[in-house]
């Protein structure tokens, strides 16, 4: 949802490419009006659930139960924020998420940029094989149990690396980055070589500084992916104090609907439904940091994606 609304908002703001010198025809003006209206409506649709959850997080549990909360908090209440903030487990998970995201993004960026740079060199022998190996994993994978056995036999279970490494090279990101590198002017590298730079130097001092746009985009992609990931953690981690906040949140939300079947309902004696209020508070606290990242990388984000895909 976050990605979607971010994109639609931004495309709403980007100035429509008016034909230079041409006067606005009636049709074009109508189109602009319609376009703006449609995008505003879509943006609002995307924003609505977000706003509701935000409102719920500040509302009293009673008001939520009665279905009175839609856009604005009813029965203003900060108590739940206080309660969740005092939950030790929440902060442990939160810290884990931050660590996994930072480490994961760093590792992923190192691996992806270096790999992409290599396979962007057309003269490299065996380049096709390297690309093939990567692309192969887009279509086939070992499946759940073999993957689990792999991670577990590598001794990665119950470590941060089980969460970080499996997602470290996203083939999609890799290919975007590869085509970006391919489009850098060849002459720059040649000039650098003549001036005595080796491949590491070219990569570190010429290519990377010129690729800020795509790098920022990839950092965003990776960090959002790591931040939101719960499945790897669910599979490979068995200790509460290693769980990321997403897993904590998922458990909380599932706990709220335990009575979905009779078997579970009967267990109701040991669990009390977690109120919508607590869920909302946890959700808000969980997404706020990653949402805050967006405005800072927004400008890279738009130009970066365009550069990687269209140009060339």
């Amino acid at each position: 949802m976050v990605t979607q609304s971010g994109m639609s908002l931004s495309s709403g703001r980007v100035r429509p490419g008016k034909p230079v010198g041409a006067r606005d025809t009636r049709g074009y003006r109508a189109f602009t009006v319609f376009n703006t209206a449609a995008l505003v409506v879509v943006s609002l649709l995307m924003l609505y659930p977000f706003v509701t959850v935000l409102a719920q997080s500040f509302s009293s549990p009673g008001a939520i139960k009665a279905g009175m909360v839609s856009f604005w908090p009813v029965g203003f209440n900060l108590e739940t924020y206080r309660a969740v903030a005092q939950d030790q487990m929440f902060w442990t998970s939160y810290r884990n998420t931050v660590v996994y995201t930072l480490v994961g993004t760093t590792v992923a960026m190192v691996l992806t940029t270096t790999f992409a740079f290599v396979i962007s060199k057309r003269h490299l022998r065996g380049r096709g094989v390297l690309i093939g190996i990567a692309v192969f994993t887009m279509f086939f994978n070992g499946g759940l149990v073999p993957n689990y056995v792999l991670i577990s036999s590598l001794g990665l279970k119950n470590t941060m690396w089980a969460v970080v490494l499996p997602g470290a090279v996203s083939v999609f990101n890799l290919l975007v980055m590869k085509s970006f590198f391919e489009n850098l002017p060849q002459e720059l590298e040649e000039a650098a070589q003549i001036d005595g730079l080796g491949w590491f130097g070219i990569f570190g001092r010429i290519v990377l500084p010129l690729s800020k746009a795509v790098l920022a985009t990839m950092v965003l992609f990776y960090s959002v992916a790591y931040w939101n990931d719960w499945f790897a953690a669910f599979l490979y981690l068995d200790k509460n104090d290693l769980f990321p906040v997403t897993l904590f949140l998922r458990n909380l939300i599932a706990g709220a609907s335990t009575t979905a079947s009779e078997g579970a309902a009967a267990v109701g004696s040991t669990t009390q439904a977690v109120s919508a209020n607590i869920q909302a508070v946890t959700m808000i606290l969980t997404i706020v940091p990653i949402v805050c990242v967006y405005p800072f990388v927004q400008r890279f984000f738009v130009s970066g994606v365009m550069l990687g895909s269209v140009k060339g």
């Binding site: 509460n240 998922r250 979905a260």
Partner: protein, 557 residues
């Protein structure tokens, strides 16, 4: 070529990238399962730490300190803490240190399957409901527990004392063994039944209904007095009400529909529940209620997602006076009624499921969740000690009390006639007991968790439940007969798959049409057409499959 400016030596480091991709070889590692189940009682020579002559009701204590790993499901509102007293106390009494592997409640079953399939499961796998062992039988990933029950004196004693032997036999899989041992319940009553506003029933002069016909009469009277209301509602998409009503009509339905088969005692074979006369009668009955505006049609269709909020609201607004629910629902209704009007006077009771044409019948007696043991544990030198320990933990009266109430003399006291009283210092919020206590038995000390509910005597059940629930339990036990359980018809792997291919579309048709008939979207005159539709979905083939399995099992055992 102008590209050949590249010095060769510089290329090499980049080739390292390939190493990272060597991971593709992982496919080869998919090996799971074991060879368990062939040699009977194998592993019984692994007696290190076990007690010789361990007998029922005796304190188990390993002769040397041992560690056992255990799968532990984590509820969001009850996160496990290493500091929990329960682990220390168990270690002190038995010399056994439990090492939990945490799995979040949200996806507990998936994670459990994964761990078992990957051969990575902890020794002890608790929280297994009856039938959940079936998928792991053929892989041999879990032990056939029936081979080891002779190591479990407490289990054998209480199976006999509580007359559960016949039900144990129903747990057997196709190979005649059972792979999980269940939690034993001295008494079991339906968790869900009907909750009603007794004051409103009294007001119109209707008695607490003992049968569905009496209920109908009462609803008619209430409707006269409150014409704008729908006096009856379900709140669980009809699934709950059909479940407990079906037994009274001599069939199965709703949550209890299971695989849809119903044992016909006279014919000695399984028939399909949803084409039976009993089922038709039940559908007709509920259709009658809907037609006369006595049953809230919205409550049968609105998705509940397990929340009773909407229903509570209707109860609070006096739009509904009787609804399905469990003891927890009573509290929810109470809260809602009080929230709507702090001075409201009302009386909510959970009543025994009404009887019907089939008599005052309720669901069959139940086991509760039990445990499985991972196949690898059999090679553990402490294997026998592990089985003895589990027998003590799950079935001995001392352990049951420990798991529920904690430590006698510290967290609770027990007087001469066995009445348990919680120490004023402690609380048990989950059951609203002594809420002023400083330390919570459950959240702070780890007692009264899922382990506590597995095996319970009647007295223990009564010790922590509300008076209202105890009353309900007594009422059900004295006035209702549990239906006889069906004979087992365990399927082998290929049959299981075939059965689910056949039964899923059948059940979908049944669910859809049941709702249509009840709501009046499809006239009951089309009942025969509906039966023909089901037959067109190879109903007979499905029944033959089940009946074949039943006969095969009966011959073998």
């Amino acid at each position: 070529m102008k590209r050949d400016l590249t010095p060769r030596a510089h290329r090499r480091p980049w080739q390292l990238g390939t190493a990272a991709l060597a991971a593709t070889s992982m496919l080869l590692l998919a090996a799971c399962g074991g060879d368990g189940g062939e040699e009977d009682g194998a592993g019984t020579e692994n007696t290190e730490g076990s007690m010789s002559g361990f007998a029922a009701d005796q304190q188990f204590k390993a002769t040397e300190p041992v560690d056992f790993s255990i799968l532990w499901t984590d509820w969001p509102d009850l996160p496990i803490k290493d500091s929990w007293r329960i682990f220390d106390e168990i270690a002190e009494r038995t010399n056994v240190t439990l090492e939990p592997t945490n799995i979040p409640f949200s996806d507990a079953t998936e994670k459990r399957s994964l761990l078992i399939s990957a051969g990575d499961a902890p020794d002890i796998i608790p929280l297994v409901y009856t039938g959940e062992d079936a998928p792991f039988v053929s892989s041999g990933a879990v032990l056939p527990m029936s081979d080891y029950v002779d190591l479990m004196p407490n289990f054998e004693k209480y199976v006999q004392e509580w007359d559960l032997g016949g039900m144990i036999d129903n747990l057997r899989q196709d190979d005649g063994k059972y792979y999980m041992v269940p939690g034993l319940q001295e008494v079991s009553v339906p968790v869900f039944s009907m909750i009603l506003r007794k004051d409103v029933f009294d007001e119109v002069g209707a008695p607490v209904p003992e049968t569905w016909d009496e209920l109908r009469d009462a609803l008619v009277k209430i409707k006269e007095k409150h014409p704008d209301s729908y006096p009856l509602a379900d709140g669980f998409e009809g699934q709950s009400m059909l479940n407990y009503a079906a037994h009274a009509f001599g069939t199965v339905g709703g949550w209890g529909f299971g695989n849809g088969t119903f044992w016909d005692e006279e014919a000695g074979e399984f028939t399909y529940a949803a084409t039976s006369d009993g089922y038709k009668e039940m559908v007709e009955y509920f259709h009658g209620l809907v037609e006369d505006g006595l049953l809230d049609p919205e409550s049968l269709t609105a998705t509940s997602d397990g929340s009773t909020d909407e229903l509570s609201e209707k109860v609070a607004n006096s739009a509904v006076f009787a609804a399905s629910g469990a003891s927890g629902t009573v509290v929810e209704f109470q809260t809602a009624l009080q929230a709507a009007d702090p001075d409201a006077e009302f009386e909510l009771v959970q009543i025994a499921p009404p009887g019907g044409p089939a008599g005052q019948v309720v669901e069959p007696r139940n086991f509760w969740h039990g445990f499985m043991i991972s196949a690898e544990a059999k090679d553990d030198p402490n294997f026998v000690a592990m089985v003895q320990f589990l027998d003590w933990l799950y079935y001995s009266p001392d352990a049951r009390e420990l798991l529920r109430w904690g430590i006698e003399g510290e967290t609770y006291t027990k007087d001469a006639d066995g009445t348990i009283t919680i120490d004023p210092e402690y609380s048990l919020d989950a059951f609203n007991i002594n809420p002023d206590g400083k330390t919570d038995l459950q959240k702070d000390l780890g007692f009264s968790t899922f382990l506590a509910e597995a095996t319970e005597s009647r007295a223990l059940k009564e010790s922590y439940n509300s008076d209202q629930f105890v009353e309900y339990m007594d009422r059900v036990l004295e006035s209702r007969t549990p239906r006889e359980p069906f004979p087992p018809a365990p399927l082998d792997d290929a049959e299981l798959e075939q059965a689910s291919l056949l039964s899923t579309p059948l059940k979908d048709s049944v669910d859809t049409n049941t709702l249509k008939f009840v709501l009046g979207d499809r006239p009951l005159s089309e009942w025969d057409a509906y039966v023909t539709e089901l037959e067109g979905q190879n109903l007979q083939g499905y029944l033959d499959l089940i009946n074949g399995a039943q006969q095969r099992f009966a011959e073998k055992n």
